[in-house]
Symmetry: C2
Subunit: 253 residues, 2 copies
Amino acid sequence: MAEAILKRERVRDHLLELIETHPAGAPIPAERVLCQQLSVSRPTVRSAVEELVNTGLLVRQHGRGTFVARAKITQEMVSDTGSMSLPQASGTWSSRVLEHARIAAGARVGRRLHLSPAAEIHYIARLRLVDGEPMALEHLHVPAAVAPALTLHDMESGDFYERLREHGVHVSEAVQSIEPTVVNDSESSLLGVPVLAPALLFERLTTDAEGRQVEYVHSIYRGDRYRIVSRLTLGASPRNTVDVQARVSGDPF
Amino acid sequence: MAEAILKRERVRDHLLELIETHPAGAPIPAERVLCQQLSVSRPTVRSAVEELVNTGLLVRQHGRGTFVARAKITQEMVSDTGSMSLPQASGTWSSRVLEHARIAAGARVGRRLHLSPAAEIHYIARLRLVDGEPMALEHLHVPAAVAPALTLHDMESGDFYERLREHGVHVSEAVQSIEPTVVNDSESSLLGVPVLAPALLFERLTTDAEGRQVEYVHSIYRGDRYRIVSRLTLGASPRNTVDVQARVSGDPF
DNA sequence: CCTGATAAGTGGTCTGTGCCACTTTCTACC
DNA sequence: GGTAGAAAGTGGCACAGACCACTTATCAGG
């Protein structure tokens, strides 16, 4: 195919140059002006501007103009085992179910899932392995009320959220926290690392389309074999599909 | 602030319903069909579809059609201090410079920055505090060759990457890894936590537009006060999203 | 001098249209 | 029967224009 240069890209490149040569906060020419300068239609200009707004390099303000955005860095996160650079792809994951039962939530889990301690939940504990070696210890809790007919096979499935959907549960979002910890006795023997070895504690709380808590996951990952690698790209603004959300504007990242 | 329902949103909602009720991989009606069904123009339909493609809920294939994407979960990461739920907004960061010098890179740092161990670098070590309390210990290294005239003030600046740009260095991307660790003696006393307390080790390697390594950052964050919170949204793929940026009165930055 | 209406400039939305590029399917030819 | 080519259907790009919503500067009136 010939190098049919798209006008949109030509406009985008022009804008990128403006961004490079202008300080943050500086206005760029009005859309209608750009049309004339570059001999393209306004929809074309708008589409190019929109692309750069989406990537966070420009900021539009209704009635005021379009401005060079302050460079921000946000991240896309992927997990990474050991020294492999590609996530998930390298190393084959498997898992061994340690325990599986339908039990009372208890105080701690009940609080996370907004349930009474006596409420029933599906519980599964499993050891997750990479190439046969223990990598993480995962505890999964799903309120029985959310999906009464959930089976072990469902919870074992690689595509758990797809299974949930078949049970009428439409996952919408999740909040996950990560903090450093050290392994205790039982974790130590299951993961095959010394007691008090560094580890990562993941906690994930998943929410329904209706706002119900549908899943609470508590995982311990070996610190010596697992790390998080994030690729930070310049100018990305936090995605927001539905509503606003706080943004990282400060620092460490 | 009237509730003038946008046609684009009406179309989007219609599409979302289709996505909910169709299995992954199923085709959705052609754009021209949707125009007729919803009595809107094709650009309007396309803009709505594009929004959902950007959020990863739909996949377009030239000449074939548009399909419901396989649900994926990716994450947007924000840092979070202590128990506050809003990142950065709560708690005021400050920092105290512990050391600042122009020194030889040394073996370890040199390797990271692709420099000879004898190459000169700007080095700064600082204690980062939140509300006056030690939170992290940060070591920043910038090759002298990259920005010879870099000052302490530049490196201290909250907007370091902006300063770099003024020195002609255009940051393009960074790779950051996070792993659990425990604090050693010196870290212990600086951070005010016991030796061997859990902590997070951040390592960031930042790259130039020309592919040069321009920054290596090594940070230790207290595990008892710092954790990472990520908000995972359904259907996200590498792409970016549409949508309005939250705007505050006056300065949008 | 202050205040409020007005006008000009900006981005935001939507229409209707035309043509191109890619994919699949059907069909006519060999 | 097999194959190449046409046709139909899809998304991709671009145009010109109209109108709306918001912001700012200006200017006349108090």
